[in-house]
């Protein structure tokens, strides 16, 4: 028998079967989670499944990350989530704690080999820990809360092999956008993506999460990276339960292999209004920026903020530009305060926002751009209207490109900052 991909290995274990791409399995879930951002709330659908109890309260976590109460309806939803958490005995992360996809790995809730679902499309982020983590809607989530299971089609896998090492000033986000440009918005629909190769080995966990977070923008069900010494060092002190290393078998069967030479890569920009509308920064015409966002579950972790601060240190952003920085979690924010990174950013002219999703989903009612304005963001989505105004334009880039562009007021190649 041929070997297995990471997805096949995990789904075999969780369905107690020899799961192969294309099979339909019913799999046991290690962890489920929801946030305050989507309607209907999964909890409101639980009783429709014939039960009023979460199957295992230790395996369901709630997050108030999308809306730091912009209006009374949101506040009412928050009360509902808090009441549900108390009544069911499930854990709840409060507003300001940060984004679910960032907190879960950071606080040791996800182990390699786990099967995890979240009621958010960017639930694929945790795959950087070699866990099968994927997004579902509220009804699937309610069924999972009732049964502890979910049916899944075992996905075929695209192997993205990244050779070489990223040049200085070129970030994991640039690699992620380059891959999105190659694979396309639906190139991995119903499939999983595994990222491997020397450029991945050299990435920090922060960079790896940026990469797997973007898997959904290629249509993928999951984005996975095998474990190694970097994973082990990062999990040390975070994950308290025993875990085992997990990588794909050497003879695993892939639907497709995509080769990328990371050493020749330059910064990338996703142009409005699609994530796969990617160009090399040197091919971009001079483009004005009105608002810069360093935030969201894609690239606003500690090292992302530090990279921005390195470029902005002792300088001041261009007149007429707003720089909004949203640390992706409370831990990120505290670490960035202690290291002086936040002070540097504030001195440079940044507005620091509540850790959470603000600056991404327009429903957050924060930092909505004006008609005709260009926003450069480290987010993962640039859909028309995403920030609450369909007459604005969203460009996606790395934290370094965001910082360099805030300084000049134009989309700017951050490698110029390295020449000094």
């Amino acid at each position: 028998m041929a070997g297995k991909t990471i997805s096949e290995t995990i789904l075999s274990a969780k369905s107690k079967s020899d799961a192969r791409a294309g099979d339909i399995v019913v799999a046991a879930l290690d962890l489920t989670y929801s946030h305050d951002g989507n309607r209907p709330l999964a909890m409101d659908l639980l009783t429709s499944m014939g039960t009023d109890k979460v199957w295992d309260p230790a395996r369901y976590i709630l997050f108030l990350d999308h809306h730091p109460s912009p209006n009374a309806l949101s506040a009412a939803a928050h009360t509902k989530l808090r009441d549900f958490a108390i009544q069911q005995g499930v854990r709840l992360y409060e507003m300001g704690d940060g984004i679910s996809h960032v907190i879960l790995p950071e606080r040791g809730h996800i182990a390699p080999g786990d099967l995890v679902i979240g009621s958010d499309s960017h639930s694929c982020t945790g795959g950087a820990l070699a866990a099968f983590t994927t997004g579902v809607g509220s009804t699937d989530m309610a069924a999972a809360m009732a049964t502890g299971q979910l049916w899944m089609r075992v996905p075929e896998t695209i192997l993205v092999r990244c050779s070489g090492v990223l040049p200085r000033g070129v970030a994991a986000k640039d690699l992620a956008l380059a891959i999105a440009g190659r694979i396309g918005a639906d190139g991995a629909n119903y499939m999983a993506i595994e990222f491997a190769g020397s450029a991945i080995d050299a990435l920090s966990m922060d960079g790896r999460f940026t990469l797997t977070n973007l898997a959904i923008e290629m249509g993928a069900k999951a984005g996975l990276i095998g474990t190694d010494a970097v994973t082990e060092a990062w999990l040390d002190g975070r994950l308290t339960r025993p875990w085992a290393h997990l990588t794909a078998d050497a003879d695993a069967v892939y639907a497709r292999i995509v080769d990328i030479d990371a050493s020749t890569l330059t910064p990338r920009i996703a142009l409005p209004h699609n994530v796969d509308n990617v160009v090399a920064i040197e091919d971009l015409p001079r483009t004005r920026v009105h608002q810069v966002v360093i935030g969201t579950c894609n690239a606003a972790r500690e090292s992302d903020l530090a990279e921005a601060a390195r470029i902005l240190k002792g300088k001041r952003i261009a007149p007429g530009v707003r720089l909004i920085v949203t640390p992706s979690s409370r831990d990120t924010m505290v670490a960035s305060m202690q290291s002086g990174v936040l002070a540097t950013l504030v001195q440079a002219g940044a507005v620091i926002a509540t850790p959470g999703c603000s600056g991404c989903a327009g429903g957050c009612h924060f930092a909505v751009p004006d008609v005709g304005e260009n926003v450069l963001s480290t987010a993962n989505r640039n859909f028309k209207g995403r920030l609450g105004n369909a007459e604005s334009f969203i460009y996606l880039a790395s934290p370094a490109t965001a910082a360099a562009s805030a300084l000049t007021g134009w989309i700017t190649d951050p490698r110029e900052e390295f020449r000094a």
Partner: protein
């Protein structure tokens, strides 16, 4: 289950923000209130023009983006009888089946806005009554057929206590 209606055509990669803009996510809890904003950012006024029984026709990767179940719920609340596209983004596809919004996977390149379409969802066949062209659907996995027959995922789980995949 037979559905007939007038086609409204959209392009490729119609994402969930286009179906219902993020800014309305906390505006109302009732999909019927939100139905008038359907496709607002890419086709202003569509939500007011669409009629009960109309058919939404799109290109590849329909419903990409967010996991929000509001997307298929608002389409259903607007009276759309079936969404027809050559491919659907995975989460939207599951959500639509789970909440009872019919989906039909087929080539849509020869369908134009205003065409009069009819579909037999059980048989997986359809016809463009305006052009006479026959349409054939890609089959759904067994578990999805079971969910549809039970009347959605909630009814399916109440009945079986688990997922019936065979």
């Amino acid at each position: 289950m037979n559905i007939a209606g007038r086609a409204h055509c959209f392009g490729d990669d119609i994402n969930t923000d286009y179906i219902i803009a993020s800014k309305y996510k906390t505006a109302s809890l009732d999909p019927r209130d939100l139905a008038r904003h359907l496709m607002e950012d890419i086709d202003p006024g569509f939500g007011q023009r669409v009629r009960q029984g109309d058919i939404l026709v799109a290109g590849k990767n329909f419903g990409c983006g967010s996991s929000r179940e509001g997307a298929p719920l608002v389409i259903k609340a607007a009276g759309i009888g079936v969404v027809v596209a050559p491919s659907f983004a995975r989460i939207f596809f599951r959500n639509a089946i789970n909440i009872g919004l019919p989906v039909f996977i087929c080539d849509t390149s020869a369908i134009s806005t205003g065409d009069d379409l009819e579909f037999d969802l059980e048989a997986g066949t359809g016809r463009n009554r305006s052009t006479g062209a026959l349409i054939e659907a890609a089959p759904l996995p067994r578990v999805m057929i079971n969910i549809v027959r039970d009347g959605g995922l909630a009814a399916h789980i109440r009945k079986h206590k688990t997922f019936q995949v065979v």
